[in-house]
């Protein structure tokens, strides 16, 4: 990839976009060098900030024509380096495509641009009694386009599902620069569910330019409980009892003692004193249902050793309970100079075993681990604490963090529940999937992006060069032969 190709794309961008939408100044380019996973840093060759789908499509088409890689970026809050720029590529930033185009209560849909902030969709719909269900902890700043790329979840996906369950359709710029509509307002659009493949593909299949999201009716009643236990074992047992009773709460979140300590230090959320673990449990639905479930949940918590149960009686108290949980990642900064946010999934029933194993890992390595997780669906977010000023501490923390992922895989889980694979975990993919599995996923990649220019180097450890049609052509790929594509 040469400066000449980049310059060709830049020329198209300057012709198509307003001047402030094209950044090629070295100093300003550096402000885009990382996303939410700040220890990976790459300065892009060019940054473009289109105002609409047409401008964005023109830039991608130019990238396709000149064989220049590009990376899409929303708010840059991703935690796996999925929006890490390419040193010889273009960073396409969607932050100026931030309009909510329509809210249609009668269809339970909203049409939004990809740069729209997640929480703003809910704000726009709440007057009609609706909200946008996926609620990642970063929902005040993360964008819908980023959510689509990562198939973002959140605390409430236990009951309501992920981004993939809440997107009906999207306008999509494929890596050849063509814009196509994927899906329809109605479910079950005829033809392959390409939208289903695109959601969660981490920007490796293309970029969405408008997203039609599903809106969910606000519940009649919400009840939020904060429950203190002496140990994570007790909290885990209570969680199991609730699920076994056939109750699907909107959320069940757990924090251990160290995570509680951090949250207290940061936001003074007033969690129960001396708790070895807390559960945040939220029930929602009709008042009649919530009343009935509430009594059962309260009893099951007490039966499993809860020593304190607080119930939010108004939105302020509810917000305070959630504040401790949602600020947990950032709060850890109060008790440790550096930390790694891990994201792994286990079958929920393996929780006690895996927590014990994490504890042993922590003891034997001397690396502290604070545990925050979505207990209802087994999504762990261990926070591995270290001090980078101490020699070898970073490596030791990395090792513990990786060992936790191994635990997840051993227990039949996943290496990521919501943060994505990105740059960070591509090397772990072969531990979870066979070569055949990964090769089959590459077929999708090759269909959408045969030249491999859309967010290359992410998600897969050793992507192959796409053959024209497997078994029909031999020898080097024509693009490779022409020097237009690399093997990545």
């Amino acid at each position: 990839m040469g400066a000449e190709q980049i310059e060709a794309v830049a020329a198209v961008a300057r012709r198509t976009l307003p001047a402030e939408g094209v950044i090629d100044d070295r100093t300003r380019l550096r402000t885009y060098e990382c996303d939410g996973l700040a220890h990976y840093r790459v300065t892009p060759a060019l940054v473009v900030i289109p105002e609409d789908a047409e401008q964005l499509g023109a830039v991608v088409a130019a990238c396709a024509e000149h064989g220049v890689p590009y990376v899409a970026r929303g708010s840059g809050t991703g935690l796996s380096g999925g929006a890490l720029p390419h040193a010889e590529g273009v960073l396409v930033v969607t932050s100026r495509m931030r309009e909510i185009l329509e809210v249609r209560r009668e269809d339970q849909r909203a049409l939004v641009e990809p740069g729209v902030i997640n929480l703003d969709v809910t704000k726009a719909a709440s007057g009609d009694g609706y909200y946008y269900a996926p609620d990642p902890s970063s929902q005040q700043i993360c964008s819908i386009g980023g959510n689509v790329a990562e198939n973002s979840g959140g605390a409430h996906c236990l009951k309501y599902g992920f981004t993939a369950n809440h997107v009906a359709a999207a306008d999509f710029v494929a890596p050849d620069g063509e814009t196509v509509r994927l899906g329809t307002t109605a479910p079950d659009a005829p033809g392959y569910d390409l939208l289903g493949a695109v959601i969660g593909s981490e920007g490796t299949l293309g970029i969405v330019t408008t997203v039609e999201v599903k809106l969910t009716r606000l519940p009649q009643d919400v009840r939020t409980l904060l429950v203190g236990f002496e140990s994570t074992d007790q909290a885990g047992a209570a969680t199991s009892a609730i699920i076994a009773a056939g109750i699907v709460p909107a959320a069940i979140e757990m924090m251990d003692a160290l995570a509680i300590e951090a949250a207290e230090a940061a936001v003074s959320c007033g969690y129960p004193d001396g708790a070895g673990a807390v559960l945040v449990i939220e029930l929602d639905g009709s008042t009649a249902d919530v009343d009935a479930e509430f009594d059962d949940v309260e009893r099951m918590c007490r039966d499993n050793g809860a020593f304190e149960i607080r119930v939010a009686t108004d939105p302020t108290e509810r917000a305070l309970i959630w504040k401790g949980r949602k600020s947990a990642f950032a709060a850890v900064g109060r008790i440790s100079p550096d930390y790694i946010v891990q994201d792994g999934v286990i079958p929920r029933t393996a929780l006690p075993e895996v927590l014990t194993a994490i504890d042993e890992l922590s003891r034997s390595s001397g690396v502290r681990v604070a545990n925050v997780f979505h207990a209802g669906d087994g999504n762990l977010h261990p926070l591995v604490l270290f001090d980078d000023a101490v020699e070898g501490a970073g490596e030791a923390a990395e090792k513990v963090s990786g060992a936790i992922l191994d635990l997840c895989i051993e227990h039949g889980g996943s290496i990521t529940g919501e943060h994505g694979v990105g740059m960070d975990k591509a090397k772990y993919m072969p531990r979870m999937y066979s070569d055949e599995d990964l090769d089959t996923m590459q077929l999708v990649r090759c269909a959408f992006d045969p030249a491999g220019i859309s967010n290359p180097g992410k998600l897969f450890p050793t992507p192959r060069l796409c053959g024209e049609v497997p078994g029909r052509h031999k020898g080097p790929h024509p693009l490779q032969a022409a020097g237009l594509a690399e093997v990545f």
Binding site: A186, E436, L459
Partner: protein
């Protein structure tokens, strides 16, 4: 009906031997094995995933066209295949392979009847929230056709419940995607691509789903509607109320019908919601534990074959399009039923309907549903109707879909011709 002899000749001895050594159970096809009138030469009935892979590999080596079959309840959906050499009978893969009640997941082989899976999960008070729209349907068949029923309003369809999948590729390679945990964003979601793909991308052999608790109580609340506008008012009242409907069904025939709302959950909660909902539906409602007469099933006779089949349509639309969809049926003998709560309904024209009339209704419905953000697909129909109409209708992004097909099935040997764009 084509005779088997003519087709059997197209599979040479070498291919026959290769299949025979791949799979213990290979036989000549009979007339009963025809796929919408197209007779295969051979039927292979593997007993394991490995055998499926061997059969598909042997078929690839001999360039044989393969159509997978579960219980065969929806095998005539879509176009008839352009040709079949091997009918891959997955009835031998009929085990529930995993039910982890504490984790609310179940896994089953493709040939497992949904009803059997439900028996297994019910022992722990759980269910896979997919309706059995045709009796006998298997997991693989439901995925291949993306069949769904009334309960999709609350929890969605197969794409919202499937969490892991194992497939056999066109070349006999076995590949997995997803896993056995609900929350998992590692890698591409191949399951979503396979759902509704009519066996054209690969052979699904095993699938893992998330489960829900079986509700302790359920009630259907039904109101009558004498105009399309009134039906839509009722459906809108149901979805905008805070009663968490499990289903909002509409039934429509000869200019009138019903809207029925299913409420599920705990007894006290359901009773409370019935009380909340009734006035929203105008007060004059019937409440019962059974679905309304003929409710929540396809409006056609799923056992009918050949020219006795109804012209069966799948009609989708944004929720605000319901009144226009119903009005479009005016003057036609069509019977309509389906999910007004999710915008997916089904219409049936009797087999006796003249082809021109069936074709005209498809055109009219297509115009209406396109205007309302949906589509009209001819799910099944007598051959004369399938020949006369555009079965799948216009499909955006078809070029990209062809590239996906070319990657997954470069020789176009898997269920050839059944799907959109002749794929």
């Amino acid at each position: 009906m084509t005779t088997q002899a003519g087709h059997a000749a197209s599979v040479d001895t070498g291919a026959r031997e290769a299949l025979g050594s791949a799979c213990a159970e290979v036989r000549d096809a009979t007339e009963a094995d025809a796929v919408d009138g197209v007779a295969p030469a051979l039927v292979a009935r593997p007993g394991s995933v490995d055998e499926v892979a061997e059969v598909v590999r042997a078929a690839a080596a001999h360039r044989l066209r393969v159509v997978p079959r579960g219980a065969g309840t929806k095998l005539t959906w879509g176009h008839a295949p352009s040709g079949v050499d091997v009918l891959l009978d997955l009835g031998g893969l009929d085990r529930v392979t995993d039910h982890a009640a504490g984790d609310l997941i179940v896994a089953a082989q493709a040939g497992t009847p949904l009803a059997r899976l439900q028996e297994t999960t019910a022992t722990e008070g759980q269910r896979l929230t997919l309706d059995e729209t045709v009796p006998g349907s298997t997991i693989g068949g439901i995925l291949a056709t993306n069949a769904s029923g009334a309960r999709r309003t609350a929890v969605g369809s197969a794409r919202d419940l499937l969490i892991g999948i194992t497939m056999v590729r066109h070349d006999g390679i076995v590949a997995k995607a997803g896993g056995r945990v609900v929350k998992n964003v590692a890698g591409y979601d191949l399951g979503k691509l396979l759902i509704g793909s009519m066996g054209t991308l690969g052979v699904v052999v095993d699938a893992t789903f998330r489960l829900h608790p079986l509700p302790a109580a359920s009630r259907w609340v039904t109101a009558r509607a004498d105009s399309p506008a009134r039906a839509m008012e009722l459906a809108q009242a149901a979805v905008h109320g805070q009663v968490v409907p499990a289903a909002v069904e509409v039934g429509w025939e000869a200019g009138a019908g019903t809207v029925s709302v299913l409420l599920e959950g705990r007894e006290s909660g359901v009773q409370g919601r019935v009380d909340d909902l009734s006035p929203l539906l105008g007060g004059d409602v019937e409440v019962g534990e059974e679905p309304p007469a003929q409710g929540a099933t396809y409006p056609w006779d799923t056992a009918a074959t050949g020219d006795d089949r109804a012209t069966a349509l799948k009609v989708t639309f944004a929720l605000s399009g319901l009144a226009d969809v119903l009005a479009t049926l005016e003057g036609s003998p069509a019977v309509l039923r389906g999910s007004a709560g999710s915008g997916v309904v089904y219409a049936a024209l009797p087999s006796s309907t003249p082809v021109a009339e069936a074709s005209a209704l498809v055109d009219r419905l297509r115009a209406t549903t396109t205007r309302h953000g949906g589509a009209t697909v001819v799910v099944d129909a007598p051959a004369a109707v399938k020949d006369a109409v555009d079965v799948w209708g216009p499909v955006p992004a078809l070029a990209l879909m062809r590239r996906v097909k070319d990657q997954f099935d470069p020789d176009h040997r898997l269920s050839p011709g059944r799907y959109v764009g002749g794929m």
